[in-house]
């Protein structure tokens, strides 16, 4: 079994536990859309476009006097994953992610300003190297800011999870003579921004949890959950919280604090990208002296 965290406390790809991958944001990549953004998180590559607020296409949305309807469509490219699946336009996972994003921004966007109209978010997943949920949310947030749509705050998402600190399999011989695998591990380490490999590892360790010797702390064997948290970083409000597995309540708070750290570091980089882009525009339009 591969070690998930090295002896020196570094992860497989050389990051520290609370370190996120390299963030790269670009605004206004599609001039024909009202707002667009490109978001890279390590190898994960997502493009988001926003159309609207425009006249809604469905009647239910068009008569909605209270606010705008946000729709989200997610498409992942065939080549985005390691397993090349057949092209299926309505993949279940994509639809679920679309619903998640639409719900997230329904409470972040000030929809009461745009009655009877719809805001359409389109997300294209070009490369999936884990954590696409949060990458898609971050990309959508940047695209909405680029479109000039009123939002309460940034919405920044990040994932967090637990992996075993150091695992070693020891071949031991029982009294009966049969060889059994014993996995030694010294506790769990919370990490942020899981890549695909770590995600798989985290899943894998959940299967092996039955093998883990009983001598360790009880409850720990359940701690291999991954959560994706979307948060408004300025006010600290949690907008979306998605869990991919069962997690004891005592560990939840720990994981959230880890995710918060990741969110803060992503937020600063997103804000810097928005600032850079805005200053470029302002300079071009002559609001500030060159």
């Amino acid at each position: 079994m591969a070690t998930s965290l090295s002896e020196s406390g570094l992860r497989e790809d050389g990051r520290r536990p609370h370190e996120v991958r390299r963030v790269e944001c670009k605004l206004c990549v599609f001039p024909h859309a009202d707002g667009s953004a490109e978001f890279r998180l390590g190898a994960t590559h997502v493009i988001a476009t926003v159309f609207g607020p425009r006249q809604a296409s469905t009647k239910a949305a068009r008569v909605n006097e209270d606010g705008a309807t946000i729709t989200c469509r997610v498409q992942s490219c065939e080549f985005s994953q390691s397993d090349h699946r057949q092209a299926n336009k309505f993949r279940r996972r994509d639809r679920l992610l679309g619903d998640l994003i639409a719900q997230t921004f329904q409470c972040a966007v000030m929809t009461n300003l745009y009655a009877k109209s719809s805001i359409d978010i389109c997300i294209e997943i070009l490369t999936n190297d884990g954590d696409i949920n949060s990458a898609a949310i971050n990309a959508a947030c940047l695209a909405l800011i680029n479109a000039g749509i009123c939002m309460k705050d940034y919405v920044v998402a990040c994932s967090a999870g637990f992996i075993a600190k150091s695992t070693r399999s020891l071949k031991q011989t029982n009294k009966t003579g049969a060889k059994t695998d014993h996995i030694m591990f010294s506790g769990l380490q919370g990490i942020v921004d899981l890549n695909q490999q770590e995600k798989n590892l985290s899943k894998h360790s959940s299967y092996s949890s039955t093998n883990i010797s009983e001598g360790n702390e009880s409850g720990l064997e359940m701690c291999n959950g991954i959560v994706t948290v979307a948060m408004m970083p300025n006010s600290g409000e949690i907008v979306t919280l998605e869990m991919q597995s069962v997690l004891p309540l005592s560990q939840m708070e720990k994981l959230l604090s880890f995710a918060k750290k990741g969110i803060n570091s992503i937020h600063t980089q997103m804000a810097a990208a928005v600032k850079k882009h805005s200053f470029m525009l302002l300079e071009r339009k002559g609001f500030i002296g060159s």
């Binding site: 006249q55 109209s117 800011i145 479109a147 000039g148 600032k275 805005s278 200053f279 302002l282």
Partner: protein, 204 residues
């Protein structure tokens, strides 16, 4: 207050007991807890540059796209540019909008190049009386500018009416391309060729 560059969620003004603050464009009110004290603040909701404030502490944040977001409602007056007519109705694009009790909003944002809004005047709604004998081609022609009022929103078209004295054609070109002048409630004259064409003219 000097100009400042702000992001969504940034705090612009904190309201005190003696100071009153109001939200302007691109901002919203929120309550935050700071040092165990609940205070009302004005936060920015778009990213842009803050604008000059008045005594009431109104803050506007100007986004470079600067879109006004006007959504037509029932009873609003609009200007319709007629694009097509047929036996029963006249269709066109809404080019301007005047919300009841407000100034005329030209180039309202939802009326931008990408997202046009369309209006339709049905035969029954052209004038108040004698609706059966209305002939659309005698009331509107393509390229006329018509002042109309919104009745309702139907499918992709806003239903409009001109069944009022002050509603109808406000600007029209004659077949020779000259701007015509109204001479009665149902006719307009070309000032150069002196030809008379029939229109449903608005009383201004």
């Amino acid at each position: 207050m000097q100009q400042k560059f702000v992001f969504p969620g940034d705090i612009l003004v904190t309201a005190d007991k003696d100071k009153d603050c109001k939200e302007g464009h691109g901002t919203y009110m929120d309550t935050i807890i700071q040092k165990n004290k609940v205070s009302t603040v004005v936060k920015s909701s778009v990213c842009g540059v803050t604008e000059a404030t008045d005594k009431k502490m109104t803050v506007n944040v100007k986004h470079w796209k600067n879109r006004g977001y006007v959504i037509p409602k029932e009873g609003d007056t609009v200007l319709l540019k007629v694009t097509s007519i047929d036996m029963t109705s006249c269709k066109g694009e809404i080019i301007a909008l005047c919300q009841s009790g407000k100034d005329l909003v030209l180039n309202a944002t939802s009326i931008d190049k990408n997202h046009k809004m369309y209006g339709m005047i049905k035969k029954l709604n052209v004038r108040e009386l004698d609706t059966d004998s209305v002939e659309i081609w005698k009331c509107f022609r393509p390229n006329d500018i018509v002042k109309a009022q919104i009745i309702s929103l139907f499918h992709n078209y806003y239903h409009l009416t001109t069944a009022k004295e002050y509603l109808g054609v406000v600007m029209a070109n004659s077949v020779f391309g000259h701007k015509m002048q109204p001479i009665s409630w149902n006719s307009m004259q070309c000032p150069i060729t002196k030809t008379i064409e029939s229109r449903k003219v608005a009383k201004i």
